[in-house]
Symmetry: C2
Subunit: 429 residues, 2 copies
């Protein structure tokens, strides 16, 4: 009976797994050199954990089920609720600032399409318990450093940065009443997908006149570089609520991130829990979905029953990122398993007898040893196999094996010499 893998999921055969591992290794390496500690949580959580953060609307996007105790559970669609639960549970005991990363697999019950699957991996970076712009800048810095590590520079990807409070001030100055603020954010979030006339119509429904609609449109159509806060201030037509952004601007420059970042007040990140900066990483050609995004969430830990604690973080999925690396030819050609130190070949019956002992002794000294499984004595063909798997040495076992000797061929230089079997590990290491 032939059963297929589920829709929207992936099978990782060795080649695909090597590429996945390449990404995970980069995520881990970059996270660690920026001083983040790895964490993880369960693959499923109480369904209510997601309701707390996102309301009942989230349920249809989850794979959810009940256990035999009738508890409602759901496979994690994101890591943030787990992070918030874990931080809230030990908030006072954790050293501050909390700097955590993780690389969980996540599942969403949505229609698979380019850049979106039902199961994917996501790199999460979070920094909690530290007020001020250094946390925002460090979190953005680690995202940019990851891209650099993979060969993606600021000419290819930009961090588009906005600030919830700044946008709120602009909307207020345009005349959006407080009770229409969420609707205005929703409209801003949807703008890129709306025809201009629909945007205009919906903006007018918020109570804005023609001129205000035009200014609203302009606000989220223009970007500003790091160092151009004065220009942004003038265009936005507000005076205050920019202190935080001024401090962030200075810190971003200090961290060498000026060329990576642009301010774009059209970035919203949904209505969720963000309280200050919000940002998304976009390919400059603009063809793809965001590579990732995040922002400041100073109320999140309280929402999950913990103490007041500032926080900022982001998530970066593997699907869009892998598409980008493939399109740009940035995935190394030869991402396969590591090359063996030795490939062991038996060329006579006495060699066959010695082979298991030779192979296992090499492995016991932590060397990577492979062996020939083919029932052939054709040495030329077997040496070809050894070369094809990238082995450093071929070890040939013939009748001399009974006397404790092997023939060792350096596959780099072609040199061949006789080595005592009990000296093989030293010879190769």
């Amino acid at each position: 009976m032939k059963i297929k893998g589920p829709k929207g999921t992936r099978d990782f055969y060795p080649d695909e797994m090597a590429r996945r591992r390449y990404l995970h290794d980069a995520w881990r390496r970059v996270s660690e050199r920026h001083g983040f500690d790895e964490v993880d949580g369960p693959i499923f959580e109480m369904l209510d954990l997601y309701r707390v953060k996102s309301g009942d609307g989230i349920v249809s996007e989850l794979f959810h089920f009940t256990d035999r105790g009738d508890r409602e559970l759901a496979i994690r669609p994101e890591f943030t609720p787990t992070l918030a639960r874990m931080v809230a549970a030990k908030a006072n005991a954790l050293p501050k600032p909390v700097k955590w990363f993780c690389t969980p697999n996540l599942c969403r019950a949505e229609r698979p399409q380019r850049g979106r699957l039902r199961e994917f991996d996501q790199w999460n970076i979070d920094m909690l318990g530290l007020d001020g712009p250094i946390a925002d800048a460090e979190v953005i810095a680690v995202a940019c450093d990851l891209l650099s590590e993979l060969g993606v520079g600021p000419e290819r990807v930009k961090v588009k940065l906005s600030h919830r409070e700044v946008v709120r001030q602009v909307l207020t100055s345009l005349g959006v009443p407080e009770d229409q603020m969420n609707a205005a954010f929703t409209l801003l979030d949807a703008k890129a997908k709306l025809p201009p006339e629909v945007f205009t119509e919906k903006a007018k429904a918020l109570g804005l006149g023609d001129e205000q609609v035009q200014r609203f449109d302009a606000m989220c159509s223009q970007t500003y570089d790091v160092g151009q806060i004065d220009a942004l201030r003038e265009a936005a037509g507000i005076d205050d609520a920019l202190d935080d952004l001024v401090a962030i601007d200075k810190t971003l420059a200090g961290f060498g991130l000026a060329e990576w970042c642009v301010y774009d007040l059209g970035i919203v990140r949904g209505l969720a829990y963000y309280t200050g900066t919000v940002f998304e990483l976009h390919v400059t050609t603009g063809k793809e979905r965001a590579l990732g995004g995040g922002g400041r969430y100073d109320k999140l830990i309280e929402l999950f029953g913990g103490p007041a604690m500032p926080g900022v973080g982001f998530g970066m999925g593997d699907v869009v990122l892998t598409n980008l690396l493939e399109d740009e030819g940035l995935l190394p050609d030869s991402l396969t398993t590591p090359n063996p130190d030795a490939y062991v070949i038996a060329v006579t019956d006495a060699g066959d007898t010695a082979l298991p002992g030779v192979v296992s002794a090499l492995r016991r000294t932590k060397l990577h040893a492979r062996l020939n499984y083919k029932a052939t004595r054709k040495v030329g063909k077997l040496l070809k196999d050894a070369e094809n798997c990238g082995a450093r040495y071929a070890i040939l076992l013939d009748d001399e094996a009974a006397n404790g000797n092997a023939s060792v061929k350096d596959l780099g230089t072609g040199d061949q010499q006789t080595v005592a079997i009990d000296q093989l590990a030293d010879h190769i290491a």
Copy 2:
């Protein structure tokens, strides 16, 4: 609102995650040096995939759910069905032998208890497409090498090995009719948990007389070392069906596994798909559940719609293994995140200004740099922080930073010297 993590699952804070990573790194390192390639599959599969292998009885042990297309899905409780599906789908294209490993998280809807959780990690090793005893021996060898790598020797853990066909012959010779064979295997599997009189009663129900019951009992109460196949043959009272075991015996000795393995015909591994060798890894004190187990499954790939292909493999979970390492004091004391290369401290306002640039320049050269977030100028206290996180160097930024200089303290030797800021990475690397 405070919501707990689900029953039977774990939160991995940095210390717990470092221990989990220690295990995963060892699994990966040992797998690779034995020539296994890493693979993985989806976290959930079509529910039918598990029904194919285990029947309808498995469903109650799974976390299962339907998607919006009413497809029945289940979180993976084991990796073998996914492996079989993946091998069956590309059987002809895969280079032989297939040597795969993976380290998936798995979920089972069972009551949590010591050694058993609802979510756990499991190391899987599988070798397919190769007939003969080398595959059995290599698979057992990689399990033993993993234990050695973690400091567990053959005096602490034994591989208990049996063989389905040998047991079948013994049972036949005792007079168990073919239609009672499954019942006899089930009884054998349950024996350790049954009071002796219940075992006797059930054995008699299979049609065995007093003497046969005694021989049945003896068969699975005695163990034999590698090299003692003659003694096993005599005790089992059979002549044939041992050729395979004789070949395996010789190969196990060849791979240096004699001190790790004992034959124990009481090992069954359920009624599942095993066709030849079956084995379990047990702590010699016998107090814990099996650390892992596996065997030969020559019909599995056909069952999943692929061609006939021999195979042998095993799984080793992280829960019992971690309990063992903890009990034996074999987990390294200081399993935390890597030590920073540099800990950067600003001791004046000019230092504050320079700090982000210094930290990010170090990280850009792939050095692990941390910084001081505390609003204090107490240098002694800050140097203490640097030492506590195991940094190699402390970099002190004072007013000299404005002139491009930093003070670098080697925290190993205590030496301190002035270094130009643009030379810091070279100085430290």
